[in-house]
């Protein structure tokens, strides 16, 4: 009996042995992580001389502000720093940065000779002790120090996130001042972060809806200069404008460039009916794209120029539709509760941002181009007019507060819905249009 038991046990162990035997490494699968801003440190860039000190400090501050402003990064205060970076070429003491839990480190140096400004920088992955990408140097003029800081921040951003940056870009908008019933509106342009505001028109006439050309050299906008809404093209560098002639006796508005910048699509009111038209800028010839008794407006091209998303009330309430770029049958893509408007195609082509009104509140939202996966990112008394950052990751829009003293301000929000924050402008602002990354 004992013998039988022993042999049985032995048999079992032999059978079981393969289960316990280690075959290769321990394998684990992770599907749950955390979402939090990545801690980084930007010690002040090292100035090559006394003339560069101020620039070095300012540039490193703008780099840090750009990164923090994305909501994806969290700057570690310099108060916590253990080691100082006194030389750009000295080896980095990673242990000191690990100790304060900085995961990314940006070191840099600034040189000024006359009006010429040179910025060198490196990005480090602290915990692996490796450099992300290679050291890079930008040269420019001292006047453009802010742009150079944005360039550096764009590089850091793309090296850590893998997405292209958007800091070295400009935003056109309507600057609003004065009380609500007597508001003065001027066309303005600024850096993406609200710095360097420049006014492009005076406040004599109401201006609406500036729209950047794909290359950022021109602006389309609508003005009531003649008493009727008319579309103008403005050369941004020379501040020179031209009216786009549409058909007589009609009102045209809501224009937007095609991705190649050669034509525009816009709304035209003719005989009390609003339809979409397309104009070739070289020849000035317009072609009708829609022909329904409903109101069609707010057209926006897909990045490849093959399709147009627009707003129409042909079903009874304003909804979003997509049609071929040369007109044709439109497909409705919005089916949620409420009214949809001002659709804008993402520069990445994957999403469409829109304004939604439902139950007395306004939302900025995004959906896939087939209308699926609708997500509302904001909610307030009045949110409208979304515009995409050049990398398709952030949306800027107008938020207006309630009441007679209500004020329009610009806000930005990440497409995840996180990091909602106001954009600082000298006065109120509305109708933003985010331009491309500058060359």
């Amino acid at each position: 009996m004992m013998r039988f038991l022993t042999s049985l046990l032995l048999g079992l162990t032999i059978l079981a042995a393969p289960v316990y035997a280690q075959s290769g490494p321990l394998r684990l699968e992770l599907d749950q992580g955390i979402i939090e801003p990545l801690p980084f440190a930007v010690p002040n860039f090292v100035p090559d001389g006394p003339a560069a000190t101020q620039y070095a400090n300012d540039i490193s501050r703008v780099v840090a502000a750009d990164l923090t402003g994305t909501g994806l990064f969290r700057e570690i205060s310099s108060d916590a720093f253990i080691s100082r970076v006194s030389s750009f070429d000295a080896p980095v003491q990673f242990a000191d940065w690990k100790a304060i839990n900085a995961e990314a480190l940006v070191t840099g140096a600034v040189n000024v000779s006359g009006k010429r400004l040179t910025v060198r920088f490196r990005v480090w992955d602290v915990f692996s002790g490796q450099e992300l990408g290679n050291g890079l140097q930008f040269a420019g003029t001292t006047d453009g120090w802010r742009r150079m800081a944005h360039k550096v921040a764009d590089q850091v951003y793309s090296r850590v996130t893998g997405e292209s940056g958007y800091f070295d870009s400009r935003v056109a908008f309507v600057s609003e001042s004065g009380p609500k019933d007597q508001r003065l509106k001027r066309l303005a342009i600024m850096d993406y972060d609200g710095a360097n505001v420049q006014y492009l028109t005076d406040s004599a006439a109401i201006v609406l809806a500036p729209r950047f050309s794909p290359s950022g050299d021109r602006l389309l906008y609508t003005s009531y200069e003649t008493g009727q809404p008319r579309i103008y093209v403005l050369d941004v560098d020379r501040v020179k404008r031209t009216e786009l002639k549409t058909q007589d006796g009609t009102m045209s508005f809501s224009p937007r460039f095609s991705p190649d910048g050669r034509s525009i699509v816009y709304s035209l009111i003719q005989g009390g009916n609003t339809d979409l038209w397309k104009m070739d800028l070289a020849s000035g010839q317009s072609v009708r794209l829609t022909n329904t008794p409903a109101i069609e407006t707010a057209p926006s091209y897909s990045p490849d120029g093959s399709q147009i998303v627009f707003e129409s009330d042909r079903s009874g309430t304003p909804q979003l539709y997509i049609m071929p770029a040369n007109g044709g049958e439109a497909t409705r893509i919005s089916f949620g509760a409420g009214r949809y408007g001002t659709p804008v195609w993402s520069p990445r082509g994957d999403l469409i941002a829109f304004t939604k009104q439902n139950k007395g509140r306004f939302h900025i939202g995004v959906m896939r181009t087939d209308g699926s996966e609708e997500r509302l990112l904001t909610s307030s008394f009045l949110d409208e007019g979304p515009t995409w950052s050049p990398n398709g990751r952030v949306i800027m829009f107008t938020r207006e507060s309630q009441g007679a003293s209500g004020r329009a301000t610009l806000y930005s929000v990440d497409i995840s819905g996180r990091n909602l924050r106001p954009v600082r402008t000298p006065d109120g602002g509305s109708d933003p249009s985010w331009g491309p990354l500058q060359k």
């Binding site: 955390i34 710095a195 990112l377």
Partner: protein, 366 residues
């Protein structure tokens, strides 16, 4: 009176008296067992424990202690934005004729592993293990208070807690570390937009409170730890050790990888330890589509062996997005393993080499 009657009378008397005396003697020993100190001491224990629990109130101080390090965390510096100056003038482009020039390779970072600098944080690690213990305890404490019978609850509670406590404990250690060093409150595993906030506001606030109260209670810490460690390893090793011995004897092999496999709880703990540092918040949407498999080796004290980390495989993305995903995974492994992962040393052969698959599917922006 017959002698027989006398004898009978004497016998009866003696019998009765014996019965009487015997009865009294018996009655005396009976109270003895009744007086068993256990009963009395139990009540006293209740009183004692009740008193001892009263002082627990100050435990909030214990709570604050773990929080203290958090306060030391460098808070994000407020964004300094320069007041935009309106210029009515013509837009004169700066034209910084940017000339990207690649710089020479960086100076070789002289890997002077500064032990002193590293040692500084280590004390934190020693302090940190304590909080996880308390997390498990609060429940037993609550039960003890309402119920007069002191002894049973403690015996029962450890059992209940055992399995969860293990995973929580080991995971919690790392979680604590990470919370101390980063900003845990900002961390989340889901994205809530402004539009959703209003609906979820109430429910979201309620689940959090229970977590904090868990930390304080100090008493049972050592006990739980002691109980857990022996219980888990013991059953497995005893069986498997015997099996291995038998196998070794039977087959005459001695070079087989030794040590029993990790238990599910131990694997969970390791998984949790890494996931607490796996920050996908800064990843591009492309990188969030990419699954990467990262392999690395650990030293016997649970630290990542230098130069062993590599991306073994990736799927679902481009080479660039795989690189970003790998870098985030590498940061997670290195950051949470800076002080060494807590794994059973007797099973070192089982976890010397590790492969982790990082699948961000659930973390994606939907």
């Amino acid at each position: 009176m017959d002698t027989g009657t006398k004898i009978s009378a004497i016998a009866h008397v003696s019998l009765i008296s014996w019965a009487l005396f015997g009865g009294t003697f018996r009655s005396e020993p009976l109270p003895m067992p009744v007086q068993d100190i256990s009963v009395i001491s139990a009540e006293q224990f209740v009183a004692m424990t009740a008193q001892s629990e009263a002082p627990e109130v100050p435990t909030p101080t214990a709570l604050q202690q773990p929080d203290a390090p958090e306060e030391e965390i460098p808070t994000p510096e407020p964004v300094e934005e320069e007041p935009p100056t309106p210029e009515v003038s013509e837009p004169n482009e700066p034209e910084p004729e940017l000339e990207p020039e690649p710089l020479a390779p960086p100076p070789e970072p002289v890997e002077i592993e500064q032990p002193p600098a590293l040692e500084a944080p280590e004390p934190e690690a020693v302090v940190l293990p304590t909080p996880p213990g308390p997390e498990a305890q609060p429940r037993p404490a609550d039960k003890v208070a309402p119920e007069p019978v002191a002894p049973p609850p403690p015996e029962a509670t450890p059992d209940d807690i055992e399995s969860p406590a293990v995973s929580l404990d080991e995971g919690a250690e790392n979680q604590q570390e990470q919370q101390d060093q980063t900003a845990p409150e900002e961390a989340t595993d889901e994205i809530v937009t402004e539009a959703e906030e209003a609906k979820e506001y109430a429910p979201r606030s309620s689940p959090r409170p229970p977590v904090r109260p868990n930390r304080p209670t100090p008493p049972a810490e050592p006990e739980v730890a002691e109980v857990e460690e022996p219980t888990e390893p013991e059953p497995a090793p005893s069986d498997e050790a015997a099996i291995n011995d038998a196998l070794a004897e039977a087959l005459g092999q001695s070079g087989e990888p030794s040590g029993p496999p990790l238990t599910a709880g131990e694997k969970d703990a390791m998984r949790l330890a890494v996931s607490k540092c796996w920050n996908v918040g800064s990843l591009s949407t492309d990188a969030l589509q990419t699954v990467v498999v990262v392999g690395f080796s650990l030293t016997q004290d649970g630290k990542v062996l230098g130069g062993t980390m590599q991306m073994l495989d990736s799927s679902g993305g481009t080479a660039a997005s795989a690189k970003q995903a790998y870098e985030a995974a590498r940061r997670a492994i290195l950051r949470c393993g800076a002080k060494g992962y807590v794994l059973p040393t007797d099973k070192y052969d089982q976890w010397r080499d590790i492969e982790i698959t990082f699948n961000p599917e659930r973390m994606r922006i939907k």
